[in-house]
Structures are given as structure tokens and as C-alpha cells.
Subunit: 202 residues, 2 copies
DNA sequence: CGTGAGTTTGACCAGATGGTCAAATCAAGA
DNA sequence: TCTTGATTTGACCATCTGGTCAAACTCACG
């Protein structure tokens, strides 16, 4: 077993390689569809060697998910009550859209998990995520009460932003099958900007 | 092997039971995560008995998907160039939302498939689906040119409708973790109605 | 250079899983 | 009732897969 304290260069390199490979494989095939062998091969390790760094397939998955949740929610965290309301929301949306473009594997990892009932992160959803969303919808509600943005259901506003932006990562194949060569994200950026401006302008 | 022609009552009943059970299991666990035994048990059959009606796990999955694609696209099919533009679109949206509420398993079945790159329905996407969407976006574009609805990117308009409505079925756990007891679909119906009215009113 | 901790691997195991098959059972028409 | 085709099943198989282990190898450092 690798020592806990003072990870060696090798440990750092291999752990990183494993997580990177696991992100590829889990996001493409889901937890059950991914095999340890596949992850090991993609990470350039043998299976027993991989299991020297992580005690189980489950442990890799958990490590990935919990590490990523933070990154994933960062843009919402950044929503600032003291900024200009509409611009804050629009820039949150653009940041989410960029994440769909730049981190599609991460998006699909969560999508896989959620579609199947989130067996492994259900708790994080109803604690951390709920708390964050409650905080931010409170800000949205205050903005609405002060007439800074139009009144809409704040939770569904958030859901709609998630749905719209993550769609481009999660259902990438479908989008590309329909759009052909056209870059999805060009049009998407414009579209969501228009949409939320019209929706939220008081 | 069951005879092709003249399906007996037993055949009809068992085939239906298998597809029903398979819908449960595939939508909850994905293709790889589902086991033939599980489907058989849920259908009230033994595994060999199930494989008497369908030659393989893959065959069940294919049968399900192709049977469902039609149902799934019916609302879009119904979009009528001769109706009132805004009302046509809004009722399409409401119908999609009802499908998310009433057929969440179907939605998740497709979601599972799409998130993992649609290995089994990729062709249907770039042929049937693309053709249908091309047809309907042509209608949308004509409506826009005649000033009946606001000008937006028609493909992204469709994507946004899919994303918004299916979100409530596909990411049901997340939605419920955040909303608590509140019924998601009440608020959602109102929200999307407002959203698309504001977006599309010229 | 020697040594002990850290790293890697071939061989292996147990359980799960998709699928097969011959034999048994059932159901409906003659 | 008897026969024949449809239906059902217990036993079985090959493969895959997560995980183990002891032995081998490598590397940093005294």
C-alpha cells in the first residue's frame, strides 16, 4: 500500500493518470459499464498495479465524483449578490456553457450518475447541493423583490440553466447529428444569452 | 422458437411483460448495468424462458428503443404549420413536459443511451431524427420570416425545449432533492410557458 | 554499493452473467 | 382422449470481471 504521508513523484503521477483515465472510461460507459482493466490500460498500468493505488473500482469513482463536485459547482458559488443582477446571471450561464464545452466528460460523468438515480451521490445532492442552491435562490428572490430582474420561479430558473447548458455536453451526439458541421457552442451561446435576457429583463 | 405469424395470446402477454420489465431495468441501470436475470424475474419468467421470446439482451434493448422512438417523437410530428405559431410551439412544449411526467422511464432510457454516445441508435439520429427536425425547423423559420414569432436559432430552440422538458425526467432525483415536497411539474409548466412566451413573442 | 521501502506483475480465484440445450410440461385442435 | 407443436425449465457452459497475493523488481538514500 502506498504510504499516506508524503506522496512520491511516482504516486502523484500514477494517481493522476488513473483519475484521468477513469474520467474517460466512466463518463463514456457509466459505472457498471466501465471495467477496471480498461481504466488500467488507458492509464498505462496493469490492473493489480492500479489496485495498488486505489482499493477498488468504487473508490476510484468516489474519488472522481467528490473531487469534481467542487469544480462543477464553482460557477454557481461565484454568483455575487453585489454584482449587477442580470450580468451576474448571464455570466453564470456563459461559464456553465463553457464548462460543457471544455469539460464534457465531467458533465457526462454526473449525467450518468444522475440518470440512474444518483446512488452514489444522493447524499451530497440533498445536503451540499441543496444548501448552495437555497442560498443562491435566496439572492435571486431578493433581486426579484427589488425589481432588478423579472419574477420567475427561482428554482426552475436554476434548473433551466443547468438543463440548457449541460444538454450540449450530455447529448453531444444528438446535437451534432442534427447540426452537422456547425459548431454547437457558437449558436448556443447567442441563443441562451437572448433567451435569458428576454426572460429576466423586468 | 415462437412462430412468427399469428402470435398466440401467451406470446403477446409475455412479450409485453418482457418489454415492460426491460423498460424498468434498462432505464434504471443502463444497458450494461441491466441483467437478463433481473429483467426475467421482473417479467415473471425464468431466464431461459425470456430468451425463448427474444434471442438476446441486445435484441430486447433494440426492440424497446425502436418501438419507443416513434412515441417519443410524436409530439414534434404533430407540430402543424397551419396552426397558430406560438400556440403550436407552446402546446408542443406542454406535451413534452407531460411526457417527462408520465413516461420518465422512456426518457431515461434514451438519456442513458445518448449520454454514452448512442452506440445503438446513432444511425436513427442522423437519419430519421435529423430529417424530422429539419422539416420542423423549416416551419419555424418560415414563421420567423413572416414575423409570427421572434427570430431565434431554430435548432437551438428545439434543443432548448428538449433540454428543459426532459431534464425533469432524466434528473428527477436532483430536482426532487432540491425542491423537497413541492411538485416539480406544477412550477415547471408555468415556468416554461412564461419563458417561451417571452422568448418568442415577436 | 547495499538495503529496505516502495512499486509492479503474472498467476490465480470466486462470483456474476449472457447464453445453450435437452428434457419436461402444457394447451388446443382432431 | 390423444397428438403435436408451443412453452417452460433445471442444469450447464464459457467468458468476463473485480479483486488477491506472493514474488520480483526498482529506486532513493545511507
Amino acid at each position: 500500500m502506498p504510504k499516506d504521508r508524503a506522496a512520491t513523484r511516482i504516486q502523484q503521477k500514477n494517481r493522476a493518470a488513473i483519475l484521468e483515465a477513469a474520467l474517460n472510461v466512466f463518463s463514456a460507459h457509466g459505472f457498471r459499464g466501465a471495467t477496471v482493466d480498461q481504466i488500467a490500460t488507458e492509464a498505462g498500468l496493469s490492473k493489480p498495479n492500479l489496485l495498488y493505488y486505489f482499493p477498488s473500482k468504487e473508490a476510484i469513482h468516489t474519488a472522481l465524483l467528490s473531487g469534481l463536485l467542487e469544480v462543477w459547482l464553482a460557477p454557481l458559488h461565484a454568483l455575487d449578490e453585489n454584482g449587477d443582477p442580470l450580468e451576474e446571471i448571464l455570466s453564470y450561464i456563459q461559464r456553465k456553457l463553457e464548462m460543457s464545452r471544455d469539460l464534457p466528460r465531467e458533465s457526462r460523468l454526473f449525467a450518468n450518475e444522475l440518470v440512474q438515480g444518483a446512488p452514489r451521490i444522493h447524499e451530497a445532492l440533498s445536503s451540499d447541493l441543496k444548501k448552495l442552491v437555497d442560498d443562491k435562490t435566496a439572492i435571486l428572490t431578493r433581486w426579484m423583490e427589488h425589481g432588478k430582474i423579472a419574477r420567475v420561479h427561482p428554482y426552475h430558473l436554476i434548473f433551466s440553466i443547468w438543463a440548457l447548458t449541460q444538454h450540449y455536453a450530455d447529448f453531444d451526439v444528438q446535437v451534432r447529428a442534427i447540426l452537422g458541421d456547425e459548431d454547437p457552442f457558437e449558436g448556443a451561446g447567442q441563443f441562451v444569452e437572448t433567451l435569458y435576457r428576454k426572460l429576466l429583463t423586468p
